[in-house]
Amino acid sequence: MLAVFLQLVVSGVATGMLYALVALSMTVGYRATTVVNFGHGDMVMAGAYAVFVFVGSGLPFAPALLLGLVVLFLFGLGTQRVLMRPIIAGPHLSLAMMALAIGYAVRGGARLEWGSEVTTLQRPYAQDAWMVGPVVFTTDDLVIATFVILLLLVLFLVFNVTPVGRLIRAVFQSQRGAALVGIDVHAFHGVMWGAGAALGAAGGVLLALIVPLSPDMGVWTLLRGFAAMTLGGFGSLHGAVIGGLILGVMEKLLGFYLSTVFIDITAYLITILVLLIRPSGLFGRQAAVRV
């Protein structure tokens, strides 16, 4: 019994790492701009397809990955600058709809091109599995975990040690205050939106290692990323990571011990319950308004 439980936790953590990365990339964009990107899932999808295209054109995996991330960074930067900036002072609804519409257009483009075929991203390594005690690890698990942990380390350093981190915190606290001390808030928003998209794209590539590519994978990831963010507390970086891990493990445990049908809705249930019971999540600040 314990072996089964351990196995579930291990594979849950592996999936959870992916959710954590997606949630983290959304948090980066949100922290920097205080706008939630409802089209973020489609950035994740676009990233996976971009790398797929570059690999298909004959590039080795590593340069293709790098190129894909750069493309998504530029795309995020560009859409923020051209489409979001003119309405940044407008109502929240417009911002949410704009992000959603961008994502929708991207998804439509992807479906137009690849909608009728099943495409998969070839692993750049051989899939293998090892037994450690009673628990099986796969190469996928290890690759995903290593990649995410490395990214986490880099992000942690960027946010907490470098001047960029101070900038991010300054803009998050008060955009006007940040502008007053000479920070180019607009340029900063664009760069961080791009960085969020690139990070999301990295998540998309990792996801594409374990599931086939599809234009709809964005929506699926978006809702799971939201669940992880909500659980960890909106805007909290370590919250996003821990939320993602808990979500991954919960999916596996509920799926095994209750019924497999619960795998699909764990994320929705978590989102709804957390927002009803404790809207600030595990590590977030006050999220609800009281009137």
Partner: protein
């Protein structure tokens, strides 16, 4: 000759002018027109919550689906004639509206509410897929041909007249709601919820009411869906459908009753023309919404409002 005074009463001419339409249209074109009519209540209900009340609620497809499934299950499993399922569909929609509105009462706002209502809609879709004995699972269920007072609506033209009556009823009732103190309370809450509460407006009650009314109207739209399409499947109530409904109210005009009607007429015809190319519709709607937000934030209704004051919304202010 006395000058004809242009008043809002003239809006009654619109449904009257539409009456002879079935004489000129073939079945398919008539079906598309019925589809437009069906999206009028769907847009109206959505617009009440998002446009007039100003809350970021993405749960509209949930109400739409509940309405369609209520009608479908009652007609198929219990043999209830379609016209008797319209009101239950609306009531179930209102109930779902209240459920979706409860988090708003707990102080969940902005994108938190958006995320939560998104999750709510997806959860319901999961129920449609999993509750096979009642909903028929992923394949959905075929709804018997709709009947009214014992007559079966055989052609699209027959459905058209019934739909027209329902749509006019929903437009008039929603107009009444928005012009009453309810509508003014929605407006106050949208402008400044804190100030509205401070003035003694019971904001909780009105928020719930707006959700319930929105859900009711959309639920009736769902019932029309069951009658029109004749087949209720979970895939019809996914996020793609949500964006279509968003396009209806954004392109028509946020917070505008007239806008919902215009949006329904303009947007819903589009998918019928582009159904051959997978993804083209998504691309088009995405770009369309982007363009509207950037260049025409108050939608097509605001263009009409420039032409003549009768088109100006009385229950929406920027």
């Amino acid at each position: 000759m006395p000058r004809l005074r242009v008043t809002r009463r003239l809006f009654w001419l619109v449904p009257l002018a539409l009456l002879p339409l079935p004489l000129y249209l073939d079945q398919y074109r008539q079906y598309v027109v019925n589809l437009m009519l069906m999206y009028v209540p769907v847009g109206i209900g959505f617009n009440v919550v998002v446009g007039n009340l100003g809350l970021l609620a993405f749960s509209n497809v949930a109400f739409f689906g509940i309405g369609a499934y209520t009608s479908g299950v009652l007609a198929l499993k219990l043999g209830v004639p379609w016209w008797l399922t319209i009101l239950p569909a609306g009531l179930m929609g209102a109930l779902a509206g209240c459920a979706a509105g409860i988090p708003a009462l707990r102080g969940v706002r902005l994108f938190y509410l958006a995320i939560m209502t998104l999750a709510f809609g997806e959860l319901l879709r999961w129920v449609y897929i999993r509750w096979v004995p009642v909903t028929g699972g992923s394949f959905g269920m075929s709804v018997p041909p709709p009947s009214v007072f014992g007559w079966t609506l055989e052609t699209e033209g027959h459905k058209f007249y019934v739909f027209l009556v329902l749509v006019v009823l929903m437009v008039v009732l929603t107009d009444r709601v928005l012009r009453s103190r309810f509508g003014r309370a929605f407006m106050a809450i949208k402008d400044n919820e804190l100030a509205a509460a401070a003035m003694g407006i019971p904001t909780d009650r009105y928020i719930l009411l707006a959700f319930a009314w929105g859900g009711f109207v959309v639920g009736i739209g769902g019932s029309m869906y069951a009658a029109l399409v004749g087949h209720v499947t979970p895939i019809a109530f996914d996020l793609t459908e949500l964006i279509l409904e968003f396009a209806v109210i954004m392109v028509g005009g946020l917070g505008s009753l007239l806008g919902s009607v215009i949006g329904a007429a303009v947007i819903t015809a589009a998918p019928e023309f582009f159904r051959e190319w997978l993804g083209f519709q998504e691309l088009l709607f995405g770009l369309l919404i982007i363009a509207v937000i950037l260049f025409l934030p108050r939608g097509l209704a605001s263009l009409l409002a420039r032409l003549h004051p009768v088109f100006v919304d009385r229950y929406y202010r920027d």
